[in-house]
């Protein structure tokens, strides 16, 4: 009987080796599927235009990498302009958002005033409203205000997020009341308390919100497409779409890929630097966009 058990033991050990091998194979296959487009994009971006077009069967490597495509990406189309626009848009939107949501979260979590809970409930119910429902009127509003093709028009509709107010308010509420009363006894003003005590304590959440918003801004496509038709105000997403449809001509794929690399690089670099923080933040924030 004991021998049987030992034999089954051996079989189990073999099974577990097989299992972990299969696991690694599956994970590696998916990793390749994830990484391959990135590889292909970089590879294509350094292939010469002529040699790319002569490859009926695409090659998996190139022996004569060139940066020429990058220079044409910046010269043939206003890529630098798109890039700069996106930076301005991202920084301004994120900064304005923080200015709007931090006092709101502070009021909800720390100040007592009539109607607070009613307003908070109203805010929460707004979280369920899909963006697609309100974008139509916003488009009309911005058009009527003559704000098309301006940064103001691009930025204004996306400076508030009920979800982030909620996230921050929950975090603020975890700070013990005693701290606030202690500060009050010492004669600390509310604003000073907010900036010197609450924000430092809640720094991880603020960073999370900032990073999520930056990602969202950098990749935003729909709203910019609606309110801009002047390439001077295109963001990178619209820019790449413009490049694809009217840019280098459909055939200059290497130059297009160079533009794609340039557009994708900032967030990927940001991600590789703040990998842990971003992944924690997304897991905690729990939504995309």
């Amino acid at each position: 009987m004991n021998r049987d058990i030992i034999r089954s033991e051996r079989a189990a050990k073999a099974r577990s080796t097989v299992r972990s091998t299969v696991t690694y194979i599956i994970l590696t296959v998916w990793a390749i599927i994830v990484l391959f487009p990135f590889y292909w994009m970089i590879l294509t971006s350094v292939k010469e235009y002529a040699s790319y077009n002569s490859e009926y069967i695409p090659k998996f490597f190139t022996l004569s990498p060139t940066l020429e495509n990058y220079s044409s990406a910046f010269t043939a189309v206003p890529l630098a302009k798109y890039f700069l626009n996106t930076v301005i848009f991202t920084v301004a939107t994120t900064a304005l958002m923080l200015i709007v949501i931090i006092p709101a979260a502070f009021a909800f979590s720390r100040l007592n005033f009539r109607g607070r809970d009613a307003v908070f409930t109203l805010f929460l119910s707004l979280m369920m409203i899909p963006y697609e429902l309100v974008v139509i009127t916003n488009y009309t509003t911005i058009t009527n205000l003559d704000l098309r093709n301006t940064f103001t028009g691009l930025i204004l509709p996306s400076v508030t997020s009920v979800f982030y107010i909620y996230l921050l308010k929950e975090n603020f509420a975890q700070i013990p009341d005693e701290l606030y009363y202690a500060a009050k006894v010492d004669g600390t003003k509310d604003l000073k308390y907010l900036f010197k005590v609450m924000l430092p304590i809640c720094r991880p959440t603020v960073i999370t919100i900032t990073v999520l918003k930056v990602i969202e801004c950098w990749n935003s496509y729909v709203w910019p497409r609606l309110v801009t038709d002047d390439p001077n105000y295109y963001l990178v997403s619209n820019g790449i779409q413009e490049i694809r449809e009217n840019g280098f001509g459909r055939e200059n794929i290497p130059a297009m890929m160079a533009a794609v690399v340039v557009i994708s690089a900032p967030l990927i670099i940001l991600f590789l630097i703040f990998r842990k923080k971003i992944m924690e933040g997304v897991a905690r924030g729990g939504t995309k966009g």
Binding site: R19, T23, Y24, I26, L27, W30, V34, P37, F38, W40, Y56, I57, P58, I101, P103, A104, F106, A107, F108, L111, N112, F113, G115, R116, V119, F123, I129, P130, Y131, E132, L133, V134, I136, T137, N138, Y139, T141, P157, V159, T160, V162, D190, N219, Y221, V236, S237, I240, Q241, E245, M256, M257, A259, V260, I263, L267, I268, M279, V282, T287, K288
Partner: protein, 296 residues
């Protein structure tokens, strides 16, 4: 006391202002639009109220095409991406070596620009005069004749769209499920091991129920997200989605609003409200089902 009230509202003022102008007012307005017949955005006039806008879009072949595309996309990608994410996260949680590396790689698509990487997918799947494209090269190894996935038959385009959508949504799902799996206490597994529970039974009877809240959360948000698909399709097939037969409901809304066929906010509003009604219904069904199956 007065002073205190005032201060509270003062702190809230910016948020209320922005939400009022860009959320609450548009929300009311969109319903108004959707019932106003023949609204003209230039003159801001209309000539009647009623259900005409709804009737129009429901008879518009482009809308029906978009509806069909969206439903196929939802039905294919939500279960598929959830299952793949579950498998990959389970695999991730069962290994030790290289785990962080894999996690980092798998998360990468989350931080990429959908439009930009969509172009890479386009050239990978594309078949044109100069090249059959890489995917066709691989298919050729299996003896299949080349297909143009970007400009070819409907099913091929749908396949690429679904594939790209899964590629885009997986990082988030993998991340959430991996952290859900990690939060299941080791003690439960030890307890099950002592009792000689086989891996599959552990997975079905312990792991799955324990992560079921997160799983259902992902399914619900997955449905909502998939119904709103749009930019993935633009990335692959360009902005003229109607011509490519690859439009989605959200795409239809935007096309009605803007661009070559645009200038009809009433139709756009009606379509957006139909979408909202669908999403709301599906979410309610999801919640009812999850009440039944989610433990805790």
């Amino acid at each position: 006391m007065e002073n205190r009230n005032l201060k509270g509202w003062l702190y809230l003022l910016p948020a209320i202002l922005f939400l009022g102008v860009f959320m609450v007012y548009p929300l009311i307005d969109v319903f108004v639009y959707s019932f106003e017949e023949g609204y003209n955005s230039a003159s801001q006039t209309f000539f009647g109220t009623g259900l005409y806008n709804y009737s129009y879009i429901l008879h518009d072949p482009y809308f029906l095409q978009a509806l069909k595309n969206t439903f196929i996309l939802v039905i294919v990608t939500v279960p598929l991406s959830t299952l793949i994410a579950l498998g990959i996260s389970y695999g991730l949680s069962s290994i030790k070596a290289l785990r962080e590396l894999y996690q980092t790689i798998f998360f990468l698509p989350y931080v990429t620009n959908t439009l930009a990487v969509g172009l890479v997918f386009m050239i990978l799947f594309q078949k044109n005069a100069y090249t059959d494209g890489l995917v066709n090269l691989i298919l050729g190894l299996f003896g299949m004749s080349p297909i143009d996935f970007i400009d070819g038959p409907y099913w091929a385009k749908m396949f690429v769209l679904c594939f790209y959508t899964v590629w885009v949504v997986l990082p988030f799902k993998i991340l959430i499920l991996t952290s859900a799996l990690a939060s299941v206490s080791e003690e439960y597994y030890n307890a099950a091991k002592i009792d000689g529970t086989r891996p599959f039974r552990i997975f079905r009877k312990i792991t799955l129920p324990m992560i079921s809240p997160m799983l259902f959360y992902l399914i619900i948000t997955g449905f909502i997200g998939a119904f709103k698909a749009y930019s993935d399709a633009v990335a692959l097939f360009g902005t003229n989605l109607n011509a490519a037969e690859m439009n989605t409901i959200v795409g239809y809304v935007y096309d009605m609003l803007y661009g070559n066929s645009g200038g009809y906010p009433s139709y756009a509003s009606a379509a957006a409200i139909v979408l909202f009604a669908i999403v709301l219904t599906i979410t309610c069904i999801n919640l009812l089902v999850s009440k039944k199956y989610v433990h805790y």
